[in-house]
Point group: C3
């Protein structure tokens, strides 16, 4: 890969090609539970390189404003959230969820200065336990993506997030890589599986044949693993523009993901576990292993987020003895194993040094599609998916079949890959 | 404001226009209590972007030398302070308070090399509980500013300092902004005032009319607040070149400030509380809430300073419940509230994004005056104030008057604004 | 010194002139005890600006590979060290100590892709308690230097290392500077010496005459101190290319050093104490005062190393009262005193600001020799020393003599300066 392509795919600030493409979509920003009450404490975050403060107003509406007050730049995080607006405590300027200045008590009563002042703001919506943000042009405001996990009843869904210390792309590429499961997440001693959530593989095939089909929502790709009797175990994972994955799994709950760039070197990593059928048995879900925290970004900015207990600074609780006798990595949770790999590449991995094999087809497909969409957008061709939430009505899939051809397999199982809700 | 102007006003290193202007004045460097004894431990600091070591010699004289020994660069902070000089422990080179090398025991006795070696050094003076430094040309050495607080007896003054994590300008602009007090430092529940040091405002006017008059020492500016019976409450704050403020207060003690750039992203913030009449009742002064510490600058350099207990890393001990029912910010001390605002703007706030109102007149006046003085100095016009300490004989002021015009008010109360000492 | 020369002497990454010169020599990388067992945990480090993972394979052979897996860049530190290779846990690619990919289980069995994949790797050798690395061209692989300390029996040697927070050059210059001992490491109260390891100086001469002779291995240089009866105490220290010193000492154990650049702002500092005669009495050696740790480099990379208990962040446990009455620095160990000086210069000291005296002859000699070797190498002239280990058969020396001329003194004591082993 060319250095220029790696930069295009990893830089997300305002004005960058990828940043502009991302600014055509609603993306997950916070958990709904982070802003539980009306007029409650605001939350600070960073998304696509912009420092933001989110708050829920008296009417229950959520909004995001730029962290720095448009007056003299004090942080609105310290603001008072009161009577339909967030009020800067420095001079009392108050902004509603649209960013409009609605009160300016330090200027003469006759002044109309406040009508001219708007904080940079971005609209928010709530669905599926998530607060979504749209940071693009007002005149192109899109639809929310109709992801199945966002539309099932709340008791059929578990959603949480952490902030990861590496660029978004290497994080999402970790999900679009079916074959790493046979290594990274595997057991050394199968009896160890009894104690963990580790998937028991029905196949011993560790070199699946990968296929990929570009679609309206992104792409479907599959690993075809050898199964008993010459049959094929197809594991179909979905990539949905720009930042979602649905991981192949044979039974509920299915894992979905949203990987939202915080800045070029950090991303917010949402993990969704959901059932399309009925309530989740929460007691059987692996716990989150993360805690609410204030995180200091390398430039000194603070954000409110969740931090995994096993993380970069403690080598993900790596235990070499465990690695020798129990499971492949010596770590305790699949979730930690994935981050160990993608964060250990460095903040932005140098993709000019890679050596990709046939197993990396989906990673290659993702990059090509993104580069092509960026190029189109620069030429004025807007992406279609943001404006039709129903293209997101898809599921991941995992089944055994006699069919060996991916296109025909997709055709045959089309209805099984449609979200029901 | 133009980006170039913001850079001019915030960059203080050697050779920068503002750095050169600052180098025409004595400025506060340390508290006298930081160098309490002759031949005692030296103190390291950073001022105007230069790393320095201050020490008090056998005769009681204080001097500052550049941190790195002129021989091979070891830090003189580790030096031995002995017999009228600071001796580098690496090879025994010894420097007096003027920076002259006075002993070089590792060179042959017949060598006169030591007479040719001078450490970069800056003169120091003591007055008013403060050690002052002058970092400009030797041939232009100015007078100490005759600030009232620096000349009253020691029992009429309390002075302390902390190092703040933002550029000096946003810190001093916080002082030249009378109207923020009505918001940032106000109570939600007036009864809460009984428990705090918060000023009880005689006025409910939160949109004062601001006036400003440029003077020899800097400027006087006032907020005119509506008072009972159609009268005017004039609150007059002084800015004294280059880094001092005297805050309007109706009674002693009055608060003064000196904001001295450490580097572009940090400043030393001296707070003075003093009475022009008699001894302070120290038991009634709010405590300092700061402790002596070694602070690691972002480039890894260490300085000796004081650190507030409520600071950036703990959100200034913000308590959202307190904010809801007690006082505007949910913080505990005025001093913390001010830093929360100015530090939260970021290390150097982007002034191209500001929206200034009529209440920001003094902030605008400060910037214009500084830009004009920098330009003059570049054209060879030296500032006059450094060479006449008596221009600093002024006081802040706070009174109610029938007079509505600032010029006439100043004329009428001229004697009340003169320092007596 | 010119700024350009300082950069030439301090920058060590791939492609820099000094980096290329260093890449002609074997240099110490780890202690042998850091990789104690076959198939044991790998160790991560940084050498000459490159992030590396060292491991010992099933056959006992040690190798170094670049930290980032050539596939997609995950860290091989998390790898499984098993059956003659280090296996990346992400997709199971396995590399032997030469960097050759020997297994690629996620690709189809018929694929020969693995034969085309090599991790960047560097050969390692073990001698003298140290694991050495060679990072230069394969076709020029040199001999190990036959340093006496590396060839004596293990019970005659103690070797350990720490990572220092400054450029390698200022660290090694600290060793090539005989006269600092009379200051930095001296006692104020001679009785304090009873409690320390401090050398009792037979001379009160603190301004030695320095002489230097360039040699095949680097140079020998001496301080000639006045001794009783008009005689001369010659203390001869050796510099051996590119990073070794042997410190003058009158009795065993002698101290040797290897200062290996980690990157431009850190170095690995190996200290060797050895006897050329018989087993060391370990109970009488000052303890190391350092502990195994994971160190976070400023760019966020983690390395495995040892950290001194007295270090930059605690001012090397400086005790000002001790400094006043006990020893020159108020620190507790010679080892800490040296680092206090060299680290306090800053990550890369600005040598354009130095003022060198006659005592700095060896420092000057080192720089000139290195600059000249770099220039030669750029012109295609390879250094000879790496290819003849026997040129390292030298000792430091410390004796009293009637002879006052360095050349004649060297001639007279030639055999005493030859390593015996």
């Amino acid at each position: 890969m060319l250095r220029e392509e790696n930069e295009l795919l990893t830089h997300v600030g305002p004005g960058t090609p990828l940043g502009e493409l991302y600014r055509r979509f609603w993306v997950p920003a916070l958990l709904a539970e982070e802003l539980p009450e009306r007029d409650g404490p605001p939350v600070r975050t960073r998304i696509l390189g912009e420092d933001l403060v989110g708050f829920r107003d008296t009417g229950g509406q959520v909004g995001f404003v730029a962290r720095n007050c448009p007056h003299r730049g004090a942080s609105l995080f310290f603001g008072r959230n009161e009577e339909d607006g967030l009020r800067c405590v420095y001079h009392g300027w108050k902004f509603d969820v649209t960013g409009q200045c609605v009160d300016m008590p330090n200027e003469p009563a006759e002044s109309n200065f406040k009508t001219k002042i708007r904080a940079t703001s971005y609209p928010a919506r709530e669905r599926g336990g998530v607060i979504w943000i749209y940071m693009g042009p007002q005149e192109r405001i899109p639809e929310l993506p109709e992801l199945e996990w966002a539309r099932v009843p709340a008791d059929q869904r578990d959603v949480w997030r952490v902030t990861n210390e590496a660029n978004w792309l290497q994080m999402i590429e970790g999900d679009l890589d079916t074959c790493h499961s046979m290594f990274l997440h595997s057991a050394v001693d199968p009896s160890a599986l009894l104690l963990t959530s580790r998937r028991f593989e029905q196949t011993s095939d560790r070199a699946p044949r990968i296929s990929l089909k570009q679609t309206d929502w992104g792409f479907a790709y599959a690993g075809r693993y050898a199964a008993l009797g010459g049959r094929h175990n197809w594991r179909v994972t979905q990539w949905l523009m720009p930042c979602y994955t649905l991981i192949a799994n044979r039974a509920w709950p299915v894992v979905g993901r949203a990987v939202v760039p915080a800045d070029d070197e950090h991303c917010h990593f949402f993990t969704i576990r959901y059932s399309g059928e009925g309530p989740l048995d929460r007691d059987r879900l692996p716990n989150r292993g993360a805690e609410r925290t204030v995180y200091t970004m390398p430039d000194g900015s603070l954000i409110d987020t969740y931090r995994p207990l096993a993380n970069r600074s403690n080598d993900y609780l790596l235990d070499r003895e465990r690695q020798r006798i129990k499971n492949y990595t010596g770590m305790f949770r699949i979730f930690d194993e994935d981050r160990a790999m993608t964060e250990s590449m460095g903040p932005i991995v140098d993709r000019t040094q890679e050596h990709l094999g046939t197993s990396d087809l989906a990673v290659i497909g993702l990059r090509r599609r993104l580069l092509s969409m960026m190029k189109e957008l620069q030429q004025g061709v807007e992406p279609a998916a943001p404006h039709d939430g129903s293209v997101y009505h898809v599921r991941s899939y995992d089944t055994v079949s006699d069919e060996g051809d991916f296109e025909r397999f997709l055709e045959e199982h089309r209805s099984g890959m449609l979200a029901v809700v």
